[in-house]
C-alpha cells in the first residue's frame, strides 16, 4: 500500500450545500471517494491509499487536472484505491463533486 497526499489551491468554493458524499467501491480497478466539505473555501486536499505503488506522478497529474476543471474549493477527498486506471479516477472525482452539488446534508 502507498499513501499519497496532495494539497491544491482551488479558484472557487465547490457548489451545493451537502456536507459529505461517497461514490464508488473498493474493488479491482475501482476506487471509492469520500468527499467532505471541511476545508477553507480556496483549498482542496486529496488523501489517497492505493494498492498500486509507484504511480505518484500520474495521481498528481490527474488531481491537478481535476482541481483545474472542477474547482473543488473547500473539499477534502479521501480515496481508497483498488488499482483504478487514471480515467476511472477522473470519473470518480467528477462524480464526487457532482454528488456534493445536491441539497442534502
Amino acid at each position: 500500500m502507498e499513501t499519497l497526499n496532495y494539497r491544491n489551491k482551488a479558484q472557487q468554493r465547490a457548489k451545493g450545500t451537502r456536507r459529505q458524499a461517497i461514490v464508488g467501491v473498493v474493488a479491482s480497478g475501482n476506487l471509492e471517494v469520500l468527499v467532505e466539505r471541511i476545508l477553507p473555501d480556496g483549498e482542496c486536499e486529496v488523501d489517497i491509499r492505493t494498492a498500486a505503488e509507484g504511480f505518484g506522478e500520474v495521481w498528481q497529474a490527474v488531481i491537478a487536472d481535476f482541481v483545474e476543471r472542477r474547482s473543488p474549493g473547500g473539499l477534502k477527498l479521501s480515496i481508497n484505491d483498488g488499482g483504478a486506471r487514471p480515467d476511472t479516477v477522473a470519473l470518480r472525482l467528477a462524480q464526487a463533486v457532482s454528488a456534493m452539488e445536491g441539497e442534502r446534508t
Binding site: 500500500m1 459529505q20 461517497i22 467501491v25 473498493v26 474493488a27 475501482n30 471509492e32 469520500l34 467532505e36 491509499r49 492505493t50 494498492a51 479521501s78 481508497n80 484505491d81 483498488g82 454528488a99 445536491g102 442534502r104
Partner: protein, 315 residues
C-alpha cells in the same frame, strides 16, 4: 424545449440511483432505491472511518464502511432498519467491523422491538483474512437475529447481488423470518468452488454455470420452498417483496418451528433421491423442467405458484 424537459427529468431522479437492476446496483444504490426518497439515516457512516483493523496487515485496501451500510429509513412512511452488504468489496465478506455493524443493528432492533429489519445480502461468506473475527461475527449475528425475532421483530432477507449469499451469509439467511430472491441471487453455504475443491470436479463442476444456477439459484430456492418470494431483478420488485414479507413474517413460535421441521422433513422425503435439481422440478410436477432456467420472470412466478405454494406458517 426538449432539452429543458430532459434536464427537468434528470433533476427529479434520486441522485444516487442510476440503475434499476438490483444486481448491478451498489449497496448504497439499493438502500436509496428501496427506501422512501431521502429517508435514509446511516449509522457509523463512512466519514467515521471505522475500517477493518486486519486488512492493513495483509497490505490490502480498506473501505471506509468496511462493505456494510447500516441505518434507519422508511418504506411507505413506516420506519425500518436496513443493513446492506457491498458485494464488490472483498466479495461482500464478513470481517470484524462489517459483522459488528449488522450485529449492533439487530441488537438495537431487539431492544426497540418496534421496527422490522431488512438485510440486503451480497456475500461470499467470511473474509478469510480475518476469519476468526468473521466466524465469531456470524455466530453473534445469528444469536442477535433470533433474539430480535423472539422480541417480535420481523427480519427479512433480500438476495439478488453479484456475490450471492454464501457461507455464514447463507446461515444468517436461513435464520431470517422470510426471504426474497431473484434469479441472479444464489443462496447456499458452501459455494461451487468450495465444493469442487473439497469433493472433486466429479461431485460439482464450479465452471458449469447452468449447474450452479439450477442448484443454488433463485428459481430453485423458490421452487423448493427456501425463499418465500421470487423477485424480479429490479429495485422496485425487491421493494414490493420487502413490503409484503414484513407483513407476512411468521413469529418464531413453537408452532412455526414445528411447521418448519415438518416442511424440511417433507422436502427430504419428496426429493431425497433426486440427483439433480431437474429431477426435483420434475417430481414437483413441472412437465418440462429443462425449460425453467430460461423462463421469464412472469412465466416463472406463475409456474412456481402452481407447483409450490409458499409456506408462511413455517421457517
Amino acid at each position: 424545449m426538449s432539452t429543458v424537459t430532459l434536464d427537468n427529468a434528470k433533476v427529479e431522479r434520486q441522485p444516487l440511483v442510476s440503475t434499476d437492476s438490483w444486481y448491478e446496483a451498489s449497496a448504497r444504490q439499493r438502500v436509496e432505491g428501496l427506501l422512501d426518497a431521502n429517508s435514509f439515516v446511516e449509522f457509523i457512516g463512512p466519514e467515521m472511518r471505522e475500517i477493518s483493523p486486519h486488512l492493513a496487515l495483509f497490505d490490502l485496501p480498506e473501505q471506509f464502511d468496511d462493505g456494510m451500510v447500516v441505518g434507519l429509513g422508511r418504506i411507505d412512511g413506516a420506519p425500518v432498519l436496513v443493513a446492506a452488504q457491498e458485494g464488490r468489496f472483498m466479495g461482500g465478506a464478513f470481517g470484524e467491523v462489517h459483522g459488528a455493524k449488522l450485529k449492533g443493528l439487530l441488537r438495537a432492533a431487539r431492544d426497540m422491538a418496534s421496527m422490522p429489519v431488512l438485510i440486503l445480502f451480497d456475500t461470499g461468506g467470511v473474509r478469510l483474512q480475518e476469519a476468526n473475527a468473521g466466524e465469531l461475527a456470524i455466530a453473534e449475528i445469528m444469536r442477535a437475529l433470533m433474539e430480535a425475532r423472539f422480541a417480535g421483530v420481523p427480519v427479512v432477507g433480500l438476495v439478488g447481488g453479484r456475490s450471492g449469499c454464501y457461507g455464514g451469509g447463507g446461515l444468517i439467511a436461513g435464520s431470517c423470518s422470510a426471504l426474497a430472491v431473484s434469479e441472479q441471487g444464489r443462496i447456499s453455504v458452501s459455494g461451487p468452488e468450495v465444493i469442487e475443491t473439497n469433493r472433486g470436479v466429479e461431485e460439482f463442476d464450479s465452471k458449469d454455470r447452468a449447474l450452479v444456477w439450477r442448484t443454488m439459484g433463485g428459481k430453485h430456492r423458490r421452487l423448493i420452498g427456501g425463499a418465500e418470494v421470487f423477485a424480479d431483478d429490479t429495485i422496485e420488485s425487491f421493494r414490493n417483496a420487502a413490503r409484503y414479507l414484513i407483513e407476512l413474517a411468521p413469529a418464531p413460535t413453537l408452532d412455526t418451528l414445528e411447521a418448519e421441521q415438518a416442511r424440511l422433513a417433507q422436502r427430504i422425503h419428496d426429493f431425497g433421491d433426486c440427483a439433480d435439481a431437474l429431477d426435483i422440478w420434475r417430481s414437483l410436477g413441472a412437465s418440462e423442467p429443462e425449460t425453467i432456467p430460461a423462463l421469464s420472470y412472469e412465466a416463472f412466478v406463475a409456474l412456481a405458484d402452481r407447483l409450490q405454494e409458499p409456506r408462511h406458517d413455517a421457517r
